[in-house]
Symmetry: C2
Amino acid sequence: KNILIVPGDGIGQEVTEVGKNVLVKIAEKFGHEFIYDEALMGHVAIEATGNPLPDETLEKMRNSDAILFGAVGHPKYDNDPTAKVRPEQGLLKMRKELGLYANLRPIKLFDELLGASSIKPEILKGSDILFFRELTGDIYFGEKGRKNDNNTAYDIAEYSRYEVERIGRKAFEAARTRGKRLMSVDKANVLETSRLWREVIQALAPEYPDIEVEHQFVDSAAMLLIKDPRRFDVVVTANLFGDILTDEASQIAGSMGMLASASVGDSTGVYEPIHGSAHDITGKGIANPLASVLSAALLLDISFGLKEESDAIIAAVDKLLKDGFRTKDIADASTPAHLLLNTQSAG
Amino acid sequence: KNILIVPGDGIGQEVTEVGKNVLVKIAEKFGHEFIYDEALMGHVAIEATGNPLPDETLEKMRNSDAILFGAVGHPKYDNDPTAKVRPEQGLLKMRKELGLYANLRPIKLFDELLGASSIKPEILKGSDILFFRELTGDIYFGEKGRKNDNNTAYDIAEYSRYEVERIGRKAFEAARTRGKRLMSVDKANVLETSRLWREVIQALAPEYPDIEVEHQFVDSAAMLLIKDPRRFDVVVTANLFGDILTDEASQIAGSMGMLASASVGDSTGVYEPIHGSAHDITGKGIANPLASVLSAALLLDISFGLKEESDAIIAAVDKLLKDGFRTKDIADASTPAHLLLNTQSAG
Ligand SMILES: CC(C)[C@H](C(=O)O)[C@@H](O)C(=O)O
Ligand SMILES: CC(C)[C@H](C(=O)O)[C@@H](O)C(=O)O
């Protein structure tokens, strides 16, 4: 099995190294042979080649069985909205070129971190959500540009029935293996793309009579996530709404530093933390590497079908937390100094 | 002064009556003469005239000095994404026709309700946010439709410099009267409309050197709202992002039932609860009318410049809460039955 390591920018470098080490240990322990290669993407790729997703990287990605990915981004582009070449272009191009239309974001709270969230423990306890975010359509990939002498900007959101149906089916099927409830989130009272979205999900529902389907408007869903997170089981939604809701939902798990995601579709899969490159903490050794470690667990489970190996990683993370170890983002006033980890020792 | 009362649908009817009664009492007490008229909008208007915003209603709106509005919507349209006439069309048309480009949503926590939120009191305490949501542009009002034999849907998001600048200025000016911090929320790493948005806000900043400006991506802002609500003072954002973030932020105040909004622009202003028509609780007498009461307070302050009268309403709400009275949405296990109010008695 070929695994491509793409650390990307900022803390992506630090945490992906830890995630990779965990894969190496698991291979040793369970007697697997994984072959690793590495490639550049994002700001570091722009610096080296002028291109945020060099052809060589894309080629290696296509030839991989799975990709462990870090993060891309750099503050210098954020403050310059007119920059023509941007790290995120590489990310979006990767998603499109590899056909990664389904982004799975499990939001699961480790019991030990019940106190780490801003949300009250009695509201949170038992929350367990699996988001299916559509990843290759919507306003991310439609035509965009300027007109009227550069004085008007536009972005086109677009969805086809086919695109909604394939992510919808994945979500319905996942609901079968879990709590049998599916929430579809849209803005069908305003958007035509959302009305198509709702039509397609409604048309699929009779094929999954064992699944209870609920439709929510995105504004209401954003509110309910905080008010009543246990109401959510599997959620399926469009690219932009999924981006917003999953970041919000990270607060259910206490920290973005705990959350992994899987992007799958036609061939290889990409596994990555949901956090970004976080240049403000880069190089300080304080980044929480567990999201990358849990990404490695998702990789083994989803792309390689190695459930036991995946569970072993999750159990190790659980034990680490039970033993009281914490990185800064999930520590609190009661964490003793000798249990405060830096990125490498946590790995 | 002419005040038009537009209760709309569902609990809009119940709560707006209470809001109006408060205006009547205030006029009596402070010796003002307000002239009231009433008009239909939403589902009730469709039933009566076939049109969610009848010409007669629009005409009355144009001739008013301010409008106290309830809510529009009906579940029957939500489950039928193909319905051609929808209550929300009336709402959107009203915003566009009256030029209500600035939607102000103050998120202020009454001390007495510190415990009513799902968020921990120590995180919430002292939160005080004022959102400026752009209300007549973005993906709400661009062209939308179907193509490819009805198999593809699209929505166009659009912003002009002029549109961003006028809402931006309102937000900068409000920041001056408050904590002097402005957060502009966009998705400039993906959307062209957001890149224009950021350019315009950046260009305005030097004119307001006393205001500290921060740019956040919408996904990050959705996360920070829960993690650290005190980080927010004035927020300015586009129509769709504002819709999502303000509903989410309602959880800071404990309940949507406590939050009022003002939509202002070229002429008359519209004052309304941020909650919807809530047909699930309509007619039960349990709706919290305080959002409408606080909308009346905003109306007096913003459209009529009657600050003392407005403050008197807010003080009365505060006293009601201090005396322990609660509607169901803000009650908890410790609320004694005799302090549990229904909609009318709360008013
Ligand atoms: C970096 C950005 C383009 C990206 C997105 O919006 O998809 C990120 O927020 C994510 O969620 O992976
Ligand atoms: C009803 C709906 C069209 C509306 C909106 O999205 O603007 C509502 O959610 C609001 O926030 O006023």
